[in-house]
Symmetry: D2
Subunit: 356 residues, 4 copies
Amino acid sequence: MSANTFGHLFRFTTFGESHGPAIGCVVDGTPPGIALSESDIQVHMDKRRPGQNKYTTQRKESDTVKILSGVYDGVTTGTSIGLLVENEDTRSKDYDDIKDKYRPGHADYTYDQKYGFRDHRGGGRSSARETAMRVAAGAIARKILGDGVTIQGAIVCIGDIAINRDNWDWNEVGNNPFFSPDADSVQSFEKLLDQTRKDGSSVGAVIEVTASGAPAGLGAPIYAKLDADLAGALMGIPAVKGVEIGAGFEAARLAGEQNADEMRMDGDKVSFFSNNAGGILGGISTGQDIVACFAVKPTSSILKPKRTVDKAGKDTEIITKGRHDPCVGIRAVPIGEAMVACVLADHLLRHRAQCG
Amino acid sequence: MSANTFGHLFRFTTFGESHGPAIGCVVDGTPPGIALSESDIQVHMDKRRPGQNKYTTQRKESDTVKILSGVYDGVTTGTSIGLLVENEDTRSKDYDDIKDKYRPGHADYTYDQKYGFRDHRGGGRSSARETAMRVAAGAIARKILGDGVTIQGAIVCIGDIAINRDNWDWNEVGNNPFFSPDADSVQSFEKLLDQTRKDGSSVGAVIEVTASGAPAGLGAPIYAKLDADLAGALMGIPAVKGVEIGAGFEAARLAGEQNADEMRMDGDKVSFFSNNAGGILGGISTGQDIVACFAVKPTSSILKPKRTVDKAGKDTEIITKGRHDPCVGIRAVPIGEAMVACVLADHLLRHRAQCG
Amino acid sequence: MSANTFGHLFRFTTFGESHGPAIGCVVDGTPPGIALSESDIQVHMDKRRPGQNKYTTQRKESDTVKILSGVYDGVTTGTSIGLLVENEDTRSKDYDDIKDKYRPGHADYTYDQKYGFRDHRGGGRSSARETAMRVAAGAIARKILGDGVTIQGAIVCIGDIAINRDNWDWNEVGNNPFFSPDADSVQSFEKLLDQTRKDGSSVGAVIEVTASGAPAGLGAPIYAKLDADLAGALMGIPAVKGVEIGAGFEAARLAGEQNADEMRMDGDKVSFFSNNAGGILGGISTGQDIVACFAVKPTSSILKPKRTVDKAGKDTEIITKGRHDPCVGIRAVPIGEAMVACVLADHLLRHRAQCG
Amino acid sequence: MSANTFGHLFRFTTFGESHGPAIGCVVDGTPPGIALSESDIQVHMDKRRPGQNKYTTQRKESDTVKILSGVYDGVTTGTSIGLLVENEDTRSKDYDDIKDKYRPGHADYTYDQKYGFRDHRGGGRSSARETAMRVAAGAIARKILGDGVTIQGAIVCIGDIAINRDNWDWNEVGNNPFFSPDADSVQSFEKLLDQTRKDGSSVGAVIEVTASGAPAGLGAPIYAKLDADLAGALMGIPAVKGVEIGAGFEAARLAGEQNADEMRMDGDKVSFFSNNAGGILGGISTGQDIVACFAVKPTSSILKPKRTVDKAGKDTEIITKGRHDPCVGIRAVPIGEAMVACVLADHLLRHRAQCG
């Protein structure tokens, strides 16, 4: 219900603006007795952290996370976990220009329509800076899921350049600034982004997240479907415009006999011949890999001039300066992983509640 | 939270299985004083109702909805509205075959994994029969939104045949059994579905739903985004595998300057040059048309034999007889409209709560 | 959040008015595989059922409950359980008098203030008739709690006559029309109620509910306290004006050393010397009996004339005819039991979710 | 649902332990454009703040609240408000004694039963220190309710000494350390507490909170009753064992004609002759003063030795040293006010959502 809370049994509530003193969140529902330290969270924060290479925003934030509560003697107590990250490198005057102008593609116009005004500095609450707390919560979600569940994300397209899926190697994802699983794609992505930056433009991206090892039985029919919750979670990441589970839109083009994943016993376990379902049938996990894809639109903050209007209702033009990612989709990879982790942890607890 | 409740302030809770005595729902949060009769609901039920033409299941259900509470003297009282639809044409023995076999693509295996057993008759609770109540709730949601908001759905693809968008005419949608807005597509769709039925196969579809006239300001940043809620709502329709808002996956291939919808004043109103955003920026409606697309996989119940396993852990084959839609995507059109209506009505009340 | 839903993981949503065609509810969250039949529910419905003796309303309702979904082959499936009870004996014209007059002590004036109008027949939605569905849901809650947990309610006061606690015998509760655990009190209660009825007046009552056998650990600190949820549940029963846990208001008068329940080991189990806490410390159950008390005001529908106003804003007088309980507190006993059962079942699932 | 979140549309989520680095909360749902500063909150924090006189704990905390987000240019933005209070004066070694012993009347035993272990320092999460954040949230709730609604609390009993209601003067409440509205009671309270402290004992208290000026129509029938939500909110304050609305338990002893509050027109407004209902009928506010009472048990931390058991399952004795309030009920006055304010603000938004 709450506009700032995600999840049901495993849930987190965030606060903070791009240019305020700090951002933070409260994580609730974590089972007691789970080992948790700041460094368990920091390792994931560091993947999303800005300013690490020339393909992301040059804002310098250490994104150092502090645990303020809910952990005692190195383990979770079962009570709410307070997390805080101080903002270190705000340059609010970069945004003076946009105080009264609506940036196309941004939430400026809609905030004013909803609330009557807005904190324009760095986008205020609509800034993707908030996603740092999603990554923090996701790190705790992974702890709940345990070592048996692995959640990994990767870029599959940037702009109109797709990776070659035959080259997919999860080990490559950490070796390049694009989270690409295809080593051969890296040079093309570099070239594309260098040109994009030179043009003062931006590009979109498609990200795929896979969760391996999740048990069968997570999710529930009707309005607690795992795929519906994943879709909501991923579409809720800033700038996302599309979500697919398994074969996604391609499934609509398949014949029934092509799409349905056939089964066979493999020893005493059920084995599937394919995974068009993306690991989910009837809203419930099958035990196969859970596979979700999402599309991120190109960064709306660009140097090319765009027509827009201002608060006073006058036509005008805008150029968005400041320190922006030429492709916000890249840093969406760890965010997508975090959201998938949070949905799964929530459903693990929900399943345990009803089915013991 | 509840597995059988949809929505927050405008919300409904459904019950009922395919082969039980009845299905029903409780609709909650409706403002008082809104004119509402059974026929207001029935008109939408009739669009989804099975057995109306040879391209949908031949099960004969009148889907007659009864209002049991919450309406007095022809207007809503503000208390919960109980709705009931009796099941009239169940043929449970059609399903004896699948009692112990898992139909590929269906929720059979996952139900057993989650609950330990299942009501297999007609799919039990996982049957798309439950969606009748979504359409009923959607009819009430439309009443809340009022006449100024028009929500319409249409087929844009069946299998690999797409409509021609240049022919789009909303008036055509009611003139053909496919909810196609392109009169020229009808013959191709007929041919495709006749062949599909002959082959004992099935096909998928893509549906587009548009809401016109919704005010700017609906939705909220972070975890109450209108697009995230639409994505969850549409992905939660049975057999859906993908959801897009506005330009969707195509947005990822655009440059920033192509994607961002420029603005100009049109008298005292803001006008947009394009609608790649699908009417939503930062999770909040812009006042443009809200446009969402979703992909429905081909019907999993087909006559072609498929490899599967049974409850005892033995390999086997299955042919799914019974009365099935060759393309479940067709009847998903009114369901998609209903879900969009429910999300918007919910957000209208939520917006009013916070912003007055 | 919903105005018509109670509970979180174990939850139910009710609908129906006093003089509509039926009342019903949807029960959600029940674990799968629990044996459940209509008679399991009916036995509790029969305790609350009107018209069973001269001390309750003479409205004749069999309160026959039908299970419409969620049970297959005699056990719960884990999906939503639809329950329906048809109204059989409505006499709406009894209420013509109060269409435009506000009965003091009733929700008439407040409904009009909130909604602008109301269904006045039998109180509409505000009728205690709705509580039949609470009792039905409570019967399912008991099944979830299992045979190890016993929930029993009893009258401890009617008007200014209190039972003698030294005579407390749970076996007596079913032997008299007052749910009194003190056989000696029955004659006094009869006399009081006969006189009350003769006077066209009414009396209040205090009810105590005890849950034995509930495990330690239910509830949670801060905003999921078991005692807070019990207080909300019991105060939400129509006509309730006060709730106590354990020593209740008396605790405020005790010294710290009198109030705190001392502990000793009894074999390998912890034993308490007293139970001023009512089985709950810090919002979490101790394993002792959970004891809650609630006060029910006298029936507001009385034959004695009262001053009031009408819808048009004119001063007037009112006499409330119709078939009313002279003491609504009596039938509140099974309702109180049901609410306690529902709170405990909800917390059992919530505890299992977090603590496994 | 969440164990650490209170409220629905106006809601707050707290974190922090007695002896951690800080406590804090996130307040969500606040309408945009409301003037809010740290001093608006601090004034209420200061009423609850420890160490202000010899009748409360001597722990020295300035309880300085910082607003981290959600306020821009002095007004609320409509996004989540992050609040932080640093802990300044923790003396954890005071608690070494109780690491393995269960203090009777405290949550020690139940925490261990639920979670398997606990942060014992100062009670950890179960410490009443968390209530500072309730007071902070309550200050924001008051801003939402506006100047027309006045919420005031007062002590009505300490131990077995009751105030004289004939002397009630709201202006006196701030003039004495007991929040007593009866100037004549102060000396007796001083004497009682001096003796109690000397004895190493503690006493309970009863608090009454009144909300004046709240509009009619707040609350809703069935499961969103204003009185039920108030009961849950007040019973959820640490150490509370009983809650009454209006006449409370006394109502059970009245005859119907005594209890029902008669009405008369007073100009064009409805006027009531009495307020046994405590301003709430059928769960909905009448427009009269909303009056709620709650009983606080005596402080469980006392110097008198008590029998108890330890973690190892051995019998033992305990004396609770440290800096404790001899009557925790006194500082419960501003907490009770805050909870009432939060419930009313939540219901104001809920009412506006449904009824416009």
